[in-house]
């Protein structure tokens, strides 16, 4: 890893990226190095196969969805800015950020974090988590020994608890409401450096 400034110079649009995502130069450089490590064939972009090659991911029950979250709309290439933008969701919330009503939410705001999570469930992007989608998530996250009936009853119960407008699906607002007591900052932030 070269010195921060020299590597920083290699990253195109570094300034804009930092502005947009809130990462510091050190963060950005580290992520850039990581990007290059993942990009084994030096293509300049990442493909799903590069993600698949990360061993630990295979141990994750929802790894496929997570990888899919990086490659939205069926694309097979992921450039560095997009890579960083997704990861920016997981920056800890800046508690000291001044509230400017006009500027858009930073990527790592509570609302955007929730949206990210929501999109993992809502695969068809219709703004709702349907029963079918919920079933799929549950199936992925529950042990093999859970039977179909149990799965379905859990799914039904889940929707029943959260669904306020009785459309048999969980919209983003209902999702957000169900999670209002949860400290999303704690649950969806990681440290990138140190």
């Amino acid at each position: 890893m070269g010195s921060t400034s020299s590597t920083l110079a290699k990253i195109p649009n570094a300034e804009d990226l930092m502005q947009e995502t809130g990462f510091t130069p050190a963060h950005l450089v580290r992520l850039y190095d990581r990007f290059k490590v993942l990009d084994k064939d030096k293509k300049g972009f990442l493909t799903p196969q590069d993600f698949v090659a990360i061993k630990e991911l295979a141990m994750n029950p929802i790894c496929d969805r997570i990888i899919g979250a990086f490659f939205t709309s069926g694309g097979e290439t992921l450039d560095f800015p997009s890579f960083v933008r997704i990861l920016a969701h997981f920056r800890p919330i800046d508690k000291n950020r001044p509230k400017e009503p006009t500027s858009p939410d930073p990527i790592n705001s509570r609302s955007n974090k929730l949206k990210f999570a929501f999109q993992l469930y809502d695969q068809d992007k219709d703004g709702k988590i349907s029963r079918h989608e919920l079933l799929q998530v549950l199936r992925a996250m529950l042990e093999k020994q859970v039977t179909e009936e149990q799965l379905e009853s859990i799914a039904d119960r889940t929707i029943q608890e959260a669904d306020l407008d009785r459309d048999d699906a969980i919209s983003f607002e209902e999702f957000r409401k169900s999670l209002e007591k949860v400290n999303i900052d704690h649950k969806m932030s990681i440290r990138f450096l140190r």
Binding site: M1, R30, L38, P48, Q49, F51, V52, A53, I54, K55, E56, L57, A58, M59, N60, P61, I62, C63, D64, R65, I66, I67, G68, F71, S73, G74, E76, F90, A117, L120, Y121, Q123, Q136, V137, L138, R139, A140, M141, L142, E143, K144, V146, Q150, S153, I154, R157, T158, E161, A162, F175, S178, L179, K181, V182, H186, K187, M188, S189, I190, R191
Partner: protein
């Protein structure tokens, strides 16, 4: 027998006895040329075997006590086992006392420190979850050093203050002695802590903090103890700034010196196991001998022996596990557990036995009560203060509940007693008082605090959870978020500096066998190559050749594979998980803290939680069956549980599922193009198909051998078995036999939807698969999860030939685990 006891005065376990301590009369009897008048056919030779006999007898008795303690399940569920053992010790001590009117079998400090303690510490070091340990090392050190010093000082000074105030009556004791007492009582004991925490499941951060603290504080305790002991000898007048500075310096020397010795021995062990391939039968023994030597060496140099043996275990585990043969690794693990458990049992029993002795008991109510009070109170203060400080640097703060558990879990144990018993009574007149008090404190913490820990946690958790009962979707999301975060951390990589990388690479080169180094990555890289592009190549090849009967090439690289991953799944999966632990790529280094959300959980509690019907079911089901994320209980250390609980099974399951879904998706993507054979063999010589998911320990796929499996596959697809289209011998005669058992895991429809990126591309999976494609996958790695051994035999290659032979399909047993050359594994 009592007569003999009187005359012999055997000390506990008599191992240290040279034998000549026996009474003169007996010796004389045995040595003297007694006149015998006739040939004795049988003689009573008690004196010959006495020492080892008593030792063995006591060991047996202690272990029988452990058996007793396990008998009553109800009792066991709320009373900590250590407490039960102490009570057994009381009873035994009572018996001995009744016979002898003196306690002939006490827990001698020497025996304790030299024969009982080392293996326990070695066990904890060897099974320490390294990644967790090192990433929390800072916090652990803070608690161990600052916390212990605070405890020692505060307790000592307070007691002295009370003494001056007259609360304890007349004692021949001074400030220094109080400080000495404080220091020996300050240390939280690892043995006791583990024993209690095993029953209360806490989150891993909390666990490692208390656990790590209990191990590392020995460095402080030893120093403080020795320093104050020396000060007491010197006398108060000679203590000046110079001596105090020396005391501080000695702290560093003792701790770091001890740790370095441990590391040195770890290096020796690792190097040794690199070359012990030829003596596999005893290579396991080296660990124990060298571990013990590290303890003794540090002790010899008056450094911290506990730290030494801890770091020996901690540092050598990775290399030893990689270098040694699979069976040796298992042997070491089992043996460690036996020794550690055995010793722990004996310690607790003897703690009980020792109490039944009127010589040592000096009851001073004020002293005892105040000690207990101060010990607890200062522990709480210390923990809360330090945690408050540490929380400011944490992403997710440690909650009050966890701090409470941590404070309450500060148990004292046998180490404190051992130190107390080693006091010099000529210098410390009140030695008996100290011993008595220490024993009381130990009993109190182990029994009372151990007993109440679970209910306390339960009560706290209930209080905490009740008002904020989460909806199901929130719980699901919580767990999903944990998975997401783990994934993001993996994707973003764990921060590691160049120097660490170089260091680690060099060390690995030095300490690890070359084959072992290769194999670490081998497994997963194999698997990775199975995906996608290689699948295409393989299939193309297959089509070209018209047969899928690829010959295995006897590449030498496989032999090690065989040896390494021959039998047990434990040899396979942990390689990947051990990668997580301290692997090479993506080395999780100290910098990353997966600051987990604190959650003290209790299995029992969850069951009592709700009694509403539906709610109960759904919430409960969720609680029980969600896959755990990496941060939850993944690295639980357990004294008695040999397997690192079911998280390994879960990992296996998840891994299999993931791979299966990937291959399924690949298949669906390529359906129309070519038969998506799951690759089992790769034509490239360097590639040996094997897959990571060898043994599925869950017996839900009881397939005996490949043939059966093969037929199973066929039935699952129920394709046109006959309409082969190719000359492939794989076209199987109808396997009716195998058709019986449905393998739900291998249903054509995926249990997870194809990865999104593929879905988008290949929306139309309704393409009728070619007949070739229909006839399916013989040796997909997913199938192979059911094969128990991951064998690559050098023998017959063509499993398809075998396929015609109707093998023993009905007996779904796992093939003998001896790695014998059975049918080739086509993986």
């Amino acid at each position: 027998a009592p007569v003999m006891w009187y005359s012999l005065r055997v000390r506990v376990k008599g191992r240290t006895l040279s034998g000549s301590e026996g009474s003169p009369s007996t010796n004389v009897t045995s040595n003297s040329s007694t006149t015998i008048t006739t040939l004795p056919i049988v003689t009573w030779k008690w004196h010959h075997v006495e020492t080892p006999y008593l030792v063995a007898l006591w060991v047996l008795v202690c272990w029988l006590c452990k058996l007793l303690a396990q008998l009553n399940a109800r009792l066991k569920s709320f009373f900590p086992e250590s407490g039960l053992l102490i009570i057994c010790g009381f009873i035994l001590g009572g018996i001995v006392w009744g016979a002898d009117k003196a306690q002939t079998f006490k827990l001698e400090p020497r025996n304790f420190f030299y024969f009982l303690l080392p293996q326990i510490i070695l066990d904890t070091g060897y099974f320490m979850p390294n990644k967790l340990f090192f990433s929390n090392l800072g916090a652990i050190l803070v608690h161990a050093v600052i916390g212990t010093c605070w405890n020692a000082g505060a307790v000592g000074v307070s007691l002295w203050g009370c003494y001056l105030g007259g609360a304890m009556g007349d004692l021949n004791i001074g400030l220094l002695q109080f400080l000495l007492f404080g220091s020996l009582l300050a240390a939280v004991d690892p043995v006791a802590v583990i024993a209690v925490f095993e029953e209360v499941h806490v989150n891993e951060v909390l666990f490692i903090w208390v656990f790590g603290e209990s191990l590392l504080n020995d460095g402080v305790t030893v120093v403080l103890y020795n320093v104050f002991d020396a000060f007491v000898s010197l006398g108060g007048s000679k203590i000046n700034a110079g001596e105090i500075i020396k005391g501080i310096v000695s702290f560093f020397v003792v701790s770091f010196g001890g740790s370095l010795i441990g590391v040195a021995f770890a290096i020796i062990i690792s190097l040794l196991t690199k070359y012990t391939g030829k003596v596999q039968i005893i290579e396991a023994g080296f660990i124990f001998v060298l571990g013990y030597l590290s303890y003794l060496t540090a002790e010899m140099l008056s450094l911290s022996a506990i730290l030494s043996v801890t770091f020996c275990g901690v540092c050598c585990q990775k290399y030893v596990n990689a270098n040694m043969d699979e069976k040796s690794v298992t042997a070491v693990r089992y043996a460690m557990k036996v020794f550690a458990n055995g010793s722990e049992t004996m310690i607790f029993v003897f703690l009980g036995v020792t109490a039944i002795d009127n010589v040592i008991w000096v009851w001073n109510t004020g002293f005892i009560c105040l000690t207990i009070l101060f010990a607890i109170v200062y522990r709480f203060i210390g923990v809360f203060t330090l945690t408050w400080m540490l929380n400011r640097y944490r992403l997710v703060p440690i909650e009050v509940i966890d701090q409470l558990v941590m404070s309450y879990g500060g148990l004292r144990g046998a180490v404190a007693y051992g130190l107390a018993a080693s006091l010099d009574e000529t210098r410390i007149k009140e030695k008996n008082l100290i011993i008595s008090t220490t024993l009381i404190v130990v009993y109190f913490t182990v029994v009372i605090q151990g007993l109440t820990m679970k209910p306390l946690v339960k009560w706290l958790k209930v209080k905490r959870v009740e008002p904020t009962e989460l909806k199901l979707i929130a719980k699901v999301n919580n767990r999903a978020c944990e998975h997401i975060l783990a994934a993001m951390e993996d994707i973003a990589g764990h921060y590691i500096s160049i120097s660490d990388l170089i260091f680690d690479t060099y060390i690995t080169w030095f300490l690890m066998k070359p084959e072992a180094r290769k194999n670490k990555d081998y497994l997963f890289s194999i698997f990775h190559k199975l995906n996608l592009e290689d699948a295409v190549n393989y299939v193309a090849e297959g089509e070209k050749r018209g047969s899928l009967a690829f010959l295995r090439n006897g590449d030498r690289t496989n032999v090690d594979f065989d040896k390494k991953f021959g039998m047990e799944f434990s040899g396979v999966m942990p390689d990947i998980t051990s990668e997580l632990d301290y692997g090479i790529d993506n080395v999780p280094m100290t910098s990353i803290r997966r600051d987990s959300i604190p959650s003290v959980s209790l299995d029992i509690h969850e069951q009592d939680m709700k009694d509403m019907n539906e709610d109960f079911n759904a919430h409960h089901l969720l609680q029980q069956h969600l896959y755990r994320s990496r941060k939850n209980h993944r690295h639980k250390y357990s004294r008695s549980d040999f397997k690192i609980n079911q998280s390994e099974d879960e990992v296996q399951e998840i891994f299999q599922r993931t791979m299966r879904s990937r291959l399924e998706s690949f298949k669906s993507a390529k359906m129309g193009v070519s038969p998506a054979k799951k690759i089992t063999k790769h034509p490239k010589p360097s590639q040996k198909m094997s897959n990571g998911k060898s043994t599925d320990t869950s017996k839900s796929y009881p397939y005996g051998d490949e043939d059966f499996e093969f037929s199973e596959v066929d039935s699952a697809y129920s394709g046109d078995a006959a309409a082969a289209g190719g000359s492939s011998p794989m076209r199987a005669p109808p396997y009716t036999v195998g058709a019986g058992i449905e393998n739900p895991a291998f249903m054509p429809e995926m249990d997870t939807p194809p990865p999104p990126w593929l879905t988008e591309v290949e929306t139309d999976t309704s393409v009728a698969p070619s007949q070739r494609a229909q006839r399916q996958l013989p040796w997909s790695p997913t199938n192979l999860q059911r094969l128990t051994p991951l064998r690559i035999s050098n023998r017959s290659t063509d499993s398809f030939v075998m396929a015609d032979v109707p093998a023993a399909q009905d007996s779904p047993e796992e093939p003998p685990e001896d790695g014998s050359q059975q049918d080739g594994t086509h993986m």
